[in-house]
Symmetry: C2
Subunit: 343 residues, 2 copies
């Protein structure tokens, strides 16, 4: 099976980027729940015949579009090893947690964040953006909002982003219960960046109207044209008005690894939170999103919820608190860090 997969990746240039799915192949995936086990060889043959040829083609060098990463054979091997270990990165004391922590440390270095910053692997930037809104909400309203909900104190919160921003910023406002209407969509300038004069004017207007501006999401690599907002200018405005400064760097933030792109990202080191995907420019296999938070303590306070069956010990398998599950929405967590570490 490993050889088949490596052969596939080696010969991928000779294959079509994408081909339509023949109706009989599609129909095979409407068969009922099997009541008996199937031999592995048969399942594998079905994979080779019915699945392998009909993928979206993002691993193909001729593929171009939708900001998909291609993955690498190294990432594939690491994912196989991770599945063999079958580690749950929610918590407890085991080395996979240290691997994730090392990647967090690397990202602190890359973005010049302090040692007290925290980070977490998540499915993707959509989730990382949502988490950033949730932590900013706790900074704006205090941890009581977790008990009391938004109905009491949340009515006045407003956020800002650019017309070029990804739709998941609006979705984050929706899912967090703040409402899409509480997100002000600021027009772009001629360089497709957020118009910073209009951003500041909108904040002042909202504040004068008795609202509570709390969050601004800048974009590093817009999905339509790849524009990078003037991060330094947005950081200045956020600092002046006490807003949380978030950078949606889904595919642009890892440009920090390139000497050419890095200067365009100046100001990103001042962010309160940065979201990005290793599965895009990082070419790590899907999925491997990441969020970095400047204030690790606040991040913890926004998500931690100790329960008796998650009792921590000071030694043994249940040691090592705080656990990754204290920093995000998931308790069972896959070992996304390993494929990133390998890549």
């Amino acid at each position: 099976m490993l050889d088949d997969m490596l052969d596939y990746l080696k010969d991928i240039r000779a294959r079509p980027v994408w081909q339509p799915i023949p109706a009989p192949v599609r129909a095979r995936f409407t068969e009922a729940l099997p009541s008996q086990p199937s031999p592995l060889a048969q399942v594998h043959a079905s994979f080779m015949q019915d699945i392998l040829p009909y993928t979206v083609g993002n691993a193909h060098p001729g593929f171009f579009g939708w900001v998909h990463g291609a993955g690498t054979p190294v990432g594939m091997l690491a994912e196989m090893l991770a599945a063999g270990l079958n580690a749950n990165l929610g918590g407890r004391d085991h080395i996979p947690i240290e691997v994730e922590r090392q990647v967090v440390q690397w990202m602190r270095e890359l973005f010049s964040f302090p040692d007290t910053a925290s980070g977490l692997f998540v499915t993707g930037t959509s989730m990382a953006n949502l988490m950033s809104v949730l932590v900013a909400r706790v900074r704006a309203l205090g941890a009581d909002v977790r008990e009391d909900g938004l109905a009491a104190a949340g009515a006045r919160l407003v956020a800002y982003t650019s017309a070029g921003a990804h739709g998941c910023i609006a979705q984050a406002m929706d899912l967090a219960g703040l409402g899409i209407r509480a997100l002000r969509v600021i027009p772009m300038n001629a360089q497709y960046q957020i118009d910073t004069a209009r951003l500041e004017a909108a904040i002042v207007l909202d504040r004068d109207a008795g609202l509570q501006p709390f969050f601004v999401a800048a974009t590093a690599g817009s999905v339509d044209v790849g524009a990078i907002d003037d991060l330094g200018a947005v950081a200045d405005i956020a600092a002046r008005h006490g807003l949380w400064f978030h950078v949606d760097g889904a595919y642009g933030a890892l440009g920090m690894l390139s000497a050419v792109v890095k200067p365009l990202l100046a100001g990103i080191e001042r962010a309160d939170s940065i979201a990005f995907d290793f599965h895009k420019w990082g070419q790590v296999p899907y999925d491997a999103g990441f969020v970095l938070m400047r204030d690790g303590e606040l991040h913890y306070r926004a998500f931690a919820s100790p329960a008796a069956y998650l009792r921590r010990d000071t030694r043994g398998m249940a040691a090592g608190s705080p656990w990754p599950c204290d920093f995000g929405p998931d308790l069972s967590r896959g070992f996304r860090a390993l494929k990133t570490w390998f890549t």
Copy 2:
């Protein structure tokens, strides 16, 4: 590498379940971000020496606790194939989507849900529970809540669960902005099930007080003692009072595959939503959570948000709408379905 991993799983009985991490090994994971690539053989050697021996031991037959699945070699191989394909299950027309749809169909069959029911792979039951709260919120308040937020109409929503429920139910209320205090924690009866008389009394009391009861989460397999709520009785109460009936079946719901456990789950087929993990009793490698929603149309309305760069076509690679990303918080999505399909 594949041989190493298969050898490891074959000989796992001869190894310790868990061993403390020596300080020098732990220290190795504090090294700085490498500026040069490392040879794969060296990274692999480091994995074998520093990572493999220091995991939590849940793949070991001597491991017992915390409801971890063990995984299987078949799941591991499937995960390797999925990483090689590197499919993004967010959308477009490719066969991996059909594989996920087939698993959705299998789950409809398993739980006697209608053809109009929808389903989605997610990281785990924590996320599946949160999504169920979000869809129930849209049923209670209408899709306008996505635009307007909870401050306007959400103040009166209250939810119910048992004192034996998993902490992620309270977390779902927190993250959705409804607040943990809006979750009524109903005491358990002598069988560690939710006390249905008290549940109904609490609903009546809240309604009399002018509140809006909207959601009840029953538990199928409690995390402390494995108790299964009387799902039929909870379904009756939910129907009587117009509540969304959710089942948190994180590790119990797949008991439907066992002739012994299935009768204990009677009533689950009446749920509005069911959340569970293939990575527990299903032994699929981490992570592979799943949510099943009876009303697929409502599910779509609670999450869909078309954006221009996600334009759908009627043919070619961008066809096949609705896409999985229309049903959940993630746009980039890993191929969790394949390891489940193989297993």
